[in-house]
């Protein structure tokens, strides 16, 4: 399971303050602790913490790379912020550009831009592409799959290895009115997305979004993660410090025969 640690995000108060004060240690500690907790990538999101998003993205990357070799996931919807990031990114160990829709009303070529930037950043750098287009986030299964198919096709046409491609079917908060059908639709879409190419593209989700505003956040996250892993999910942006969640990952992977059983199988992450 490719776990992307979510904690270095300007939406969290400690990170927001660290960015404001240019406090390297807070950021570096989070990088190392998430790595030790099992993160394969570290997500970096400037959030709303700074006016200069491009400079802040670069500062975060450079600060982390001083102490930690874990590949980074550069998280921004703005191509300019990603472009600034890859200028200082050490892409040798890999990395992810997170994320782009298939297209936008304001930018028909946005997916191409992200794929181009990934190629610039290095042959091991991947892209997270959302099953979303200029019409917004689809509500049904079929449109999600159709958009995913277009993304995969576009990547294959330009020789972008599908093993560098992460499809994100977009998890929405379950508490939003009329959104309760969404988790089921996402699972159904995953069943089909995994057959879009051989080898399959990775599938990832921003898990914590699902439980926004609910009273049982951790439980909802855990159960959905287990269900999604059973449908082929092989990556997720998660809180790697949530030990129970990590146990769910280890157990699901073992039950899906992706990890060999051992009596201490929970210690895998």
């Amino acid at each position: 399971m490719i776990l992307i640690g979510e904690r270095i995000n300007g939406m969290f108060l400690d990170v927001k303050n660290a960015i404001a004060e240019k406090n390297e240690k807070v950021v570096q500690d989070l990088a190392i602790k998430q790595t030790n907790a099992g993160a394969s990538y570290l997500d970096i999101n400037v959030g709303t913490a700074a006016a200069d998003q491009e400079g802040t993205m670069q500062w975060l990357i450079e600060t982390i790379q001083k102490v930690c070799q874990t590949p980074l996931s550069l998280d921004s919807q703005k191509p300019a912020v990603i472009a600034a990031g890859i200028k200082v990114l050490n892409g040798e160990n890999g990395g992810i550009l997170n994320s782009t829709p298939l297209n936008k009303k304001s930018d028909e070529e946005v997916l191409d831009k992200y794929l181009d930037m990934a190629d610039q950043a290095g042959p091991k750098v991947g892209v997270i592409a959302l099953t979303m287009d200029k019409n917004g986030v689809p509500q049904d299964t079929d449109t999600r799959v159709a958009i995913a198919a277009e993304i995969v096709q576009k990547a294959m046409e330009r020789g972008f290895d599908t093993q560098r491609l992460f499809i994100d079917p977009i998890v929405l908060p379950v508490k939003v009115p009329n959104a309760q059908a969404q988790p089921g639709n996402i699972l159904a879409a995953m069943e089909q997305i995994r057959y879009l190419s051989e080898p399959a593209p990775h599938m990832t989700i921003g898990l914590s979004n699902l439980s926004q505003g609910t009273n049982e956040r951790s439980l909802i996250n855990r159960i959905f993660l287990a269900m999604a892993i059973s449908r082929g999910l092989d990556s997720a942006i998660v809180e790697v410090f949530d030990e129970q969640l990590m146990n769910v990952v280890a157990t699901s992977e073992m039950l899906m025969n992706r990890q060999i059983y051992s009596d201490s199988f929970l210690k895998v992450y």
Binding site: E198, P199, R258, I260, S264
Partner: protein, 318 residues
Amino acid sequence: MPVPEIAQSFVGSVNRVTLGALPENGGTRTSTITIGGAKNVVYAGSFSDAGEKPVVAMDVLDTAPLDWPDELAKVYKDLWESPEQWAAKCVEEYGADMICLKFDGIHPDKGDKSPADAVKTTQDVLKTVGVPLVLWGCGNNDKDNKVMPEVSQAAKGENCLIGTVEEDNYKSLTAIALADNHHLITGAPLDINIAKQINILVSDMGFPTEKIVTFQSTGALGYGIEYAYSIGERQRLATLSGDKMMSMPVICDVGYESWRVKEAKLNDIPSWGDPADRGPMWEATTAICLLQAGADIIRMRHPRAVAMVKNYIDQIWQ
């Protein structure tokens, strides 16, 4: 329409492990051995995916063997009283990449030799040959726990491969191997779940997974080789999928297993062919089969079998 590229690429690879320490690294070895590094199953992918060449570790016992068949006795019996001369012959004449010093003689039923005896044998062999050593206990937990820590200390700095540790007996040897900077063999009884468990237990003690070589137990041709083969295969596939607790190189004990089967050792059955050929062939065939499952170190005995296997390795791992 272009032919699509469907070659599967994997995220994991077998850990690269270097055994033996040269003088500049604090040891007295004249050569080191590097194994592992494979990024695919055997025969698949490019030559560079195949990783390092597998190696042969020839068995030397710390005592005259009680049950070695005639074909082996013919080769070695003059050397049985002198493990260091025995080891020298294996290296100089038979091309052993490593020597596996097997402490059968410390077993309570096979001579019950003392820790001091084992230490002396270790020192003598270290002085006589320059290749890296495997130091392998007798299998009796109490005696191994008494003797092997002293053997480990006697070889401190030489970066040996020492073992085996098992699920129910791993703490003392793991601790001493860590202190003396050796590599460690984790053993399991043809059980992939236990194999993973012992690796987790050992790494929980702070022993680096990159310094482990796994021993899954070995079955000879006709006597369970298919179990050893399929476990080797399963381990390699887990390695390639990125399972860090299964990504270690593999050692097999082909010499012991193949020379205890009747097809290899019986002399008086003319219809089975000449025993001078039959035994070495049995050993070589077992070894080659397990190399295809992904073995990295093969423990062997008969020089003719060793020659066949080394020739095979040289042809396949170019």
